[in-house]
Symmetry: C2
Subunit: 415 residues, 2 copies
């Protein structure tokens, strides 16, 4: 089974918008073992879309078309698909009704051009719209005597993703004579490199490659950590779960101390949740990260139940005067511990987390770029640890944030 991807939109070719849709779709197709050998960006031009679809379908069994389903005159995907199918567009009153209801439920009048979105190629099946006004389309087409298929989905990423997961991938797998439910489990990890995880998981990876289902992939995601994703295909959701469970246990057992969460968990949400469960309040003292760690924590809705605030002590005198750090060098474990203790006192919180380090471009007081010292104060206990992190200024600061939060997580779980 081969499914190529076409992203439609002149703004993509002009570089005004990054095409992340085809990347995401490529990732999903790979996870379920479908080849995707060409991914193309094309502009809002009827003739060029039609020509391109013809060429792509000469080689591929299927193509997913993203974008060009909007209500305006330069949304040409419906017309182009009808031309490739050799059919007319017809007005679908059910689709029109849904669009009208969407407008009226928001108390707005539907502009007439929205009815363009109710135009459907004869012979196509609708993928009902649940988020935006444009429905998706499943369009069978005969090419050289072979039955192939064109899927059309909106270009808005969250609408596109929902339709691909709900309708396109299951339909593709059914056409390939395969199971129709795909389920993924992502283990979120920190503390081990990609090659390190790979090495530790080697025995499982070998057997997974023989089994072929589920598949395993590593996804490095900066300060979101390193994801290990298992993806299973099965006839039912229950069967997919049963297929995943033993492999997940095996994988976990080999990298157990690196796993901080699953699926949509983040390091921030996990740390906040542990604190919430234990009824502990948190305060930060940030120097090298200058507020980034607090910024990440407060991006989690509900952070205010746990997080009291931070002292960003960028100038040394703020460390001395406000946090009570002893005069002297400020990038070492003693200073980090004093900062943690200081913020605990100043913000009256149960847990103090402190970060001090050197992000560069230059070393500081003889301490090399990349040095990070983290201090943690919980109740009357206080301890600190030092890392040497890679990367330029911005990357070093981001690595500092997740490293510090992970140390806090491990310390809380061990206490």
């Amino acid at each position: 089974m081969r499914c190529d991807v076409v992203a439609v939109g002149t703004e993509l070719l002009l570089g005004q918008v990054t095409d992340t849709n085809s990347q995401w779709i490529g990732e999903q197709l790979a996870a379920v073992g479908i080849d995707s050998l060409l991914q193309v960006k094309v502009g809002d031009n009827h003739a060029r879309i039609v020509t391109l679809l013809g060429r792509v379908l000469a080689d591929a069994d299927a193509v997913i078309l993203c974008g060009g389903l909007g209500p305006t005159h330069d949304d040409l995907t419906r017309e182009a698909i009808a031309a490739v199918m050799g059919v007319e567009l017809h007005h679908d009153e059910d689709v029109a009704d849904v669009i009208r209801q969407m407008f009226s439920s928001r108390g707005r009048r539907m502009p007439d051009n929205n009815l363009r979105q109710a135009q459907v190629p004869v012979g196509a099946t609708i993928i009902a719209q649940t988020r935006g006004t444009a429905p998706g389309l499943i369009c069978p087409v005969r090419v050289g005597g072979v039955e192939k298929v064109i899927y059309a989905v909106p270009g808005v990423p969250h609408e596109m993703k929902e339709m691909v997961e709900r309708a396109v991938l299951p339909d593709l797998l059914k056409r390939g004579g395969e199971a129709s439910v795909i389920l993924s489990r992502t283990l979120r990890t920190w503390g081990e490199s990609e090659s390190g995880l790979n090495e530790r998981l080697d025995p499982v990876i070998d057997r997974l490659e023989v089994a072929g289902n589920p598949t395993l992939a590593f996804l490095a995601s900066g300060w979101d950590g390193l994801k290990v994703r298992l993806t299973a295909k099965a006839a039912t959701e229950g069967a997919a779960r049963e297929l995943l469970a033993p492999w997940e246990s095996e994988v976990r057992a080999l990298i157990v101390e690196t796993v901080f969460g699953v699926d949509d968990d983040t390091m921030e949400s996990v740390v906040l949740q542990i604190l919430r469960e234990r009824g502990l309040s948190l305060g930060l003292a940030e120097s090298v990260t200058g507020g980034l760690a607090s910024g990440r924590l407060t991006n989690v809705p509900g952070a205010s139940e746990v997080f009291r605030g931070s002292i960003v002590s960028y100038a040394s005198s703020v460390k001395f005067d406000l946090l009570g750090v002893p005069a002297g060098p400020v990038v070492n474990e003693k200073a980090a511990a004093a900062m943690a203790r200081g913020v605990q006192r100043v913000l009256q919180c149960d847990v103090g987390l402190a970060l001090t380090g050197v992000a560069g471009p230059e070393e500081q007081d003889g301490v090399p770029v990349g040095t990070l010292c983290v201090g943690i104060a919980i109740g009357s206990d206080v301890h600190a640890r030092t890392w040497r992190l890679p990367g330029q200024r911005e990357q070093m600061r981001q690595m500092s944030v997740i490293s510090a939060l992970d140390l806090l997580r491990r310390t809380l779980l061990a206490s």
Copy 2:
């Protein structure tokens, strides 16, 4: 002149890496008036790259190929181009020497497979490598009796960009019978929407479209603001500058109060620079943004000369106890002003900047989501302002950061 783009790499199709190269190249081509009508991702497969190049060159005058120039067995771009040209690869001793020198200057031995990078299709011109080990290639090819061209550049973004700017764009323009220097000037703006800027610049845009050179583009860049970019083509750099200057003055005159910087300036760097010039120190009190504004400021190297630190007063009691905000509701101009005054005192700085607001998901004390109040204290002056910002939690917080910094910038410039 039409130049399409092919990004080579199986990792792109699998979604492990986002193809930002073709986006960047598309932006550069558009800026100099060259059409780019197809941009394709293809895997590391000899036959497929050859077939694709043939198809693309049937329609386009030129194609830029990114990636696949590395030293390993799955780097196939050189071989594929030679096949399309119908020529052999030959070993280029000059290129090999440069690679050997790169290794020896780093005190490393060159692995033999790096000599693959000295293989050059007969008839191709070298684009000398200045950053990585792979040279770029300019490869003339006859298609249907017409002279066309294939450019090969590395997939590593900073290597690719340097070669495209230095060699590919000038060569393309020369082939199109056009001038060979391209120069851009970007005005960084904040405070007006894209359509608002568009409207104000309408008279200039009309005349620019008639003139055709320079071109003007709007680029919305989140909390980096909205960029207005003028791009000129000319025979020499001096001529390009002369061409740009009067248009830049005209554009500036129409949107003067929105322009906070040019080219690589950022709102953060501009604010820090104004403070540095005036010998003023800065402290922040952040609530709604939770440290994000401080995180942005401290990403600028040298921020420590000006920026003393922040109090992230997420819990209301921190606002009351540490910053001295009067008890009561905390999202209003009075509270913002008190926070600014408070941080000025606690961190002993000349300028206090405070942000309080509601990022959602729920309203707070009857204050709706999207509300931002900013307080500014300079010396003994203090004032505050309120906005109603759009977007979900993360977007609202990012807009808050740039809005607050811009208000500080305007206040400093007016004082």
